[in-house]
Symmetry: none
Subunit: 419 residues, 2 copies
């Protein structure tokens, strides 16, 4: 089964609205074994809609989903286009208009005259109820294709798909066909080399894709029809084993969540001292409800003054080694741990840019320290010299340093240790 999505809207093309409907439809249809082959966005223009839908009908997709262009202020351009494409007639539906009037009355509004057009319906199609808004959806059948016209408002579109289209027109999902394994600390090409033999041996039953981000690489596994679940589970376990400590979670789990669960499980607490990341690590840790059970907070010591005042970093270290150095990172983590009384303290000091770099200490350089019991582990990294990415990568590297520490309970197998 194949599908094509056609989304309508000037505001989508102009970028004032980000198209989240398409991603949602993709995620909803994929587990049902429906492969989305193309997605097209066209302006609020009847001719453009007619051309896109006609082209999709010619290609012969099993399902064509058209979203948008059904609202009362948008001149019902989708309805006009469908009237032409399917050569249907229009009629005024008294019963639906009465329903609409009732709904407005319940909310103490007189029905606006604009809404009369919502009761002008097309013949030769099935109408899909709209629990949330006023525009009805439509389903046309053309050869082997089903064409759905849905509102562009996400809540209305989703309700129609979940409450009417899936149960009435689409086959049931039987099992989860897609698994995503998440890694960090290993480049895409190295990862691909490491697992190549496993992927090659399983190419018949599965599809694979590497999805690189700046903070890690995901490996996505798609189970092809006819492959059984037991084989899938075995494959996943083998891959996780091979990925080793680089693997941290699956199916969208975040690193802060993984680390949080590890801290909670071991009854340990954490505080952080942030310089270049300026609060981003604290922000991500506290994105998680309940994080106060293991995360106490910390210090954003963006200036050298605060490194001294709030963390007790000796002036001598700052002037001798500079704020971006292993000794200062160490003193920040140790000072943070001493003042907050947590089991662990993470510190970060680096040059995110765009300014502040030198030959000796270029933009991208960062030192991350992890203080625990009476020891401190420091890492020196050269990350991408772009401010936003540098800050995100630093936070990921810090969380990952703690994750690997908790995993190994020893620092000996870690690379790059300076002190």
């Amino acid at each position: 089964m194949t599908a094509c999505l056609i989304t309508i809207g000037d505001e989508l093309l102009q970028g004032f609205t980000i198209d989240t409907n398409s991603a949602w439809l993709g995620q909803t249809l994929l587990p049902l074994g429906i492969s989305i082959r193309q997605r097209i966005t066209v302006p609020d223009d009847t001719e453009a809609i007619i051309s896109a839908v006609s082209q999709a009908l010619k290609t012969g997709y099993t399902f064509i989903f058209v979203t948008g262009g059904l609202g009362p202020t948008r001149d019902d351009i989708t309805k006009a286009a469908f009237k032409t494409i399917f050569k249907t007639d229009e009629y005024f539906d008294e019963k639906y208009y009465r329903q609409l009037t009732e709904r407005f009355k319940k909310r103490n509004f007189k029905i606006p005259s604009l809404n009369r057009s919502q009761a002008m319906l097309l013949t030769d199609c099935e109408h899909i109820p709209n629990r949330i808004g006023t525009a009805l959806g439509m389903r046309f059948v053309h050869g082997k294709s089903s064409v759905f016209a849905l509102p562009g408002v996400p809540a209305e579109m989703k309700a129609m798909v979940l409450e009417t289209i899936l149960p009435e027109y689409l086959p049931q999902a039987t099992f989860k066909r897609i698994v995503t394994l998440q890694t960090t600390g290993i480049p895409e090409s190295k990862l691909a080399e490491d697992v190549r033999d496993i992927l090659d041996n399983n190419a018949r039953g599965f599809g694979f894709a590497f999805l690189p981000h700046h903070t890690g690489v995901n490996l996505r596994i798609r189970q092809k029809p006819g492959t059984n679940d037991e084989v899938k589970e075995k494959l996943i376990n083998r891959l996780i084993q091979r990925l080793g400590t680089h693997y941290f979670g699956r199916d969208g789990e975040t690193l802060e969540n993984v680390v949080g669960k590890m801290l909670l499980g071991s009854g340990k607490t954490l505080s952080v001292a942030e310089s270049c990341t300026g609060g981003l690590l604290s922000k991500r840790l506290t994105d998680i409800p309940g994080s106060s059970r293991y995360f106490f907070g910390g210090v954003v010591s963006y200036s050298n003054d605060l490194k001294r005042e709030l963390l007790g970093v000796p002036e001598e270290l700052l002037s001798r080694f500079g704020a971006v150095s292993a000794p200062v990172a160490t003193a920040m983590a140790e000072g943070c741990k001493a003042r907050t009384g947590t089991d662990f303290a993470l510190s970060m000091t680096g040059i995110s840019g765009p300014g502040g770099g030198s030959d000796e200490k270029p933009v991208g350089l960062v030192f991350i320290a992890l203080a625990y019991s009476s020891k401190t582990q420091v890492k020196k990294l050269n990350l991408i010299p772009e401010r936003t990415l540098h800050r995100e990568m630093t936070v990921t590297a810090a969380l990952d340093q703690l994750r690997r520490f908790l995993l190994h309970k020893t620092s000996r197998e870690e690379g790059n240790i300076l002190t």
Copy 2:
């Protein structure tokens, strides 16, 4: 000038990745007078790319932007497609390969064999440098159309557009046709009422749209063809005057940037004490390069222990009024100001949820305090009881409190003052 965007990726069609590139390109091209007429997403499949690009060339758009399909593990499908479409040859670029090898070396990695393909380049095109990643961009000219192939990774794509394509290949914007005025602290319906007469009187030459967000409402003004710039400037000035203190900036300027410039201009410094926002305010302030000139940092006092230890909040206040109270917000701001030595200190303590609420102190409640000279201004707000929105709205309200203070240089005209 017209444009067509072609984005490549199974993960986009399947919805694992939301296509933010297209919206960003739309927003970037629109003010240059480039009208995006169509947007197409195709799978990781050479034939599909060839078909979409060929169709776009036939339509004759001025610009065709193709994003994605350039990574080392994705079989360079875009390169293969372009090789076919433009009938070009391929060559191995020794010099670029040496550059790549150097870059991997700097990060302590041996260059993986897969990356060799990144130095296989096509003839008959101009290459666009990639400061962040490894895949080069391409520009082909075909009749009156320019075709750009760009990486799908947003940071890499954006850097190429901003640093190479806009300055080198796109005509300069002659005048800005779209202006967005940003407000905060006023509901959409009130805003619409306040400016209605101005909009009505200018409906012939301009289009208007209200764009509400949870942290404020934007008013978008579109200059219709034939309207002159002087009229536009007058209208904008009148609207800004009418919007009064609710107006804080235009065309995507952030509140943290506006406040930063005001602090810099008055030679004042700021620190922050964050509880419920957990570092988000610090993060946003330090998103801005150079913010260290006025922002020193602060404390994330997520636990009560840290409110006492790092900010000197008396235990008596915590036990008598609770952590979410005006006296504790005041003590946090004053403690932060005393310990950091800055001119201003902002503090926030609230209940972001989902847990922690009560009848007396429901989820959504927050106290924001601003300490300055020997006084402290506290506000109590009831915001949306959803964790992410609550944290964002709290940070916006805190920045806005400081902005209005700096604007008025007095607190007397502010509402909601508790102490």
